[in-house]
Every structure is written in C-alpha cells, then in structure tokens.
Symmetry: C2
C-alpha cells in the first residue's frame, strides 16, 4: 500500500487495495479523487501575525450571491484563525509561487511567518482586515456565511466581498488572459502539481 | 459591459465595470472568480432516461468520510433528478470528450438524450443506480448527505461511495499517471477550457 503525501491539506489521499473490475476500469477505495483541483493560498489575519494556508479543497459554488467554499481541518493552525476572523482572502498563485505554495501547505503558522519565509508580500485588502498576497495575480476577499462540520474537514461557506486581478494578466479589453500567467492545478490522486497547457476551447 | 456565457452551470460570471486600484491590481465586481476549476460530468438516473449535466462548481472538501460538493441551480432539469435520486456519479472527462462536455452543459436533458447525443456510453455503477460514463477515465459514485440552499445555486454535499479509474491512466505501480490522458480545466473568468500542460512539481 502506497500512501501519497501531499503538501496541501488532504493527507489522507491514497490509492490502496483495489478490486479489478470486469472491464477496463479498476475500482479504488472511496476517496476525494476529483482532478484537477484548484490551488489557493488562503491569507488570514491573526493575533500575532497574518498567516497563509495552502488549500486545494476549494470551489466556486454559487453565483448569486457569489459564494465559495473551502475545507479546512480543525487541527490546522489556520482553522481557528479563519473561524475567529470570519474573513479571509483566497489568493490564486501562479507557477512563480510554487515553492511558497508548497511551503505554506507543509509548514505550520505556529512555527513560521509564512509571508516573509514563503516569499510573499502582504498587501492591504479593500473590505476586510486580512492581507492579500501581492505576488498572486488574483485575490478574492471573502466573509464566512456558515461553517458545516463534515468529519476530518469543516466546510467554510463564504461570500465573496470583492476581488482583485493584476493588470498584467488582462488583455487590452480588460479580460482575463490565461496566456499571460501560468496557472497550475493540484492532482490529489498522485500529489502532483501541473501547469495549464493550452486553450482547448 | 461584456458578459461571457459559458457552457457550464454558471451563466452569471462576467467582468464588468471596474475601479482601477492604486497599484497594479484592478478591483472587479465580486464574483466566483477562482481559477482554474475542475470540470465534471454528473450522471444521474431519471424516470425517463439517465441524464448528464456538466458542472464546474465542484470540489473535494473532506477526506474522512470522503466528501464532495457540487453547486446546481434549482432551475436546471437535472436539479430535481439529483435531488430525487439522492445519488449520482461524478465523471472526470478527458480532452477527447470536450465536445460532449460542452453539449451536456449547454443543452437540457428535457430535450435531449445526452448520453446518445453527447457521444457517451452508460456503464453500470457498483453501488448506485446512476450509470457511469464509460468514456471518462475517472468515475466517482456519490450519495447526497445534505443540501444547503445558497441563492442561485444549491450546494449538494455528498459522500463518495466508491470510485473507478481506467486502467489506461495508471502506471505500472497502479498509480494515476496524468501524462496518459489529457485532463482539462475551466476558467470562469473568460469562459475557456484549458488542458493541463506539464508536471510542475
């Protein structure tokens, strides 16, 4: 049995024993095996210093009001920071921030200043106290609406208060141009990070 | 104001008026602007025939019990099918299924048999009645735990019952090898689908 450890908040993903199916498909243990997944750096204010946590359990879930979810383990240092603050920024990194992304996902804010040691610069948000991460091309300010305990993770349901996008990733019409940055995804099935390739459609 | 229509269940995403910020970042209307997003084909059983709906509002959210969420608009034909069935399959497409993916996201199951007309083959699931999509390399059988109304979308929180992975995307050790298929993502910020490129780490 091989366990794949990953630098995001989902240490339980692994492929174990399997039952060969009678076709070309293999049945695997139930798991959160959706791929590819987003990677977000959640920045939150704290009593001592702001903190950053790398998350892949995250999604847009409702357009009106604009609502997003993240799943966070109660044992994580950031859990209480996020719960107590009630607001946070979801920062979307580019491949330039991969090392800081892995750092922020594998170390605890109890022991490290993840802004300075992760190579991230705090930048004031517009509507909330949590700092945004300057280096990330997209920053989404969120306020918690509801917390749903699920088991190993709690689900934070949050409304988007406002959002920011770096001028450098916009085209001449002010529209997001993915070719001007290098977004990346996370594959919990094998613990790898992959860049986006090309426009399919 | 330009509205970007997309072939997934999130017709409200658009960039509109903006306030230039005093740095290199532009503040945009609050929105569900996280990128990149997964693309899943939800297959569900129905009284007349099974149906497929393309969703991007989807995530892994809890590892134990393995739990996933999807956001679905109550107006959608699939909404009542999903609600009534209480179980469904999240199928992960590869780039070979892009046309069927767009078709299943832009047409209604009221008017079309999305399996036959989308080029998809039903395949029996192990634990639930909903059919899996044979062409998709990963199939995740889910059962609804809770439905949380959020506004335009309802959040379906579901437990993973079992999962299947195509032998063709596994390496010699039975581990998922992303280079053996072409996964793709959806960018709600501009309505584009992008393939994965290369392993970053």
């Amino acid at each position: 049995m091989s366990r794949i450890r990953a630098a995001v908040d989902d240490p339980d993903i692994f492929l174990t024993e399997y039952v060969p199916s009678n076709g070309m498909k293999r049945e695997i243990n139930p798991g959160t095996v959706m791929v590819p997944c987003p990677v977000v750096l959640l920045s939150v204010d704290g009593p001592d210093r702001p903190n950053i946590i790398t998350l892949s359990w995250a999604a847009n879930v409702c357009s009106k009001p604009p609502t997003m979810v993240v799943g966070i383990r109660p044992e994580r240092h950031s859990y209480n920071l996020v719960k107590n603050a009630g607001e946070y920024v979801l920062n979307i990194p580019s491949a330039e921030q991969i090392e800081g992304t892995v750092f922020a996902g594998s170390k605890s804010g109890r022991d490290f200043d993840k802004f300075s040691e992760g190579g991230f610069t705090p930048e004031p948000a517009s509507e909330i106290k949590a700092p945004m991460i300057k280096e990330c091309p997209i920053n989404i300010e969120c306020r918690t609406r509801e917390i749903v305990p699920l088991g190993a993770h709690d689900l934070f349901i949050a409304e988007v208060v406002t959002a920011h996008i770096d001028e450098s990733v916009l085209d001449e019409n002010g529209r997001f141009d993915a070719s001007k940055t290098t977004l990346f995804t996370y594959l919990p099935l094998n613990g790898q990070y992959w860049t986006l390739g090309k426009k399919l459609r």
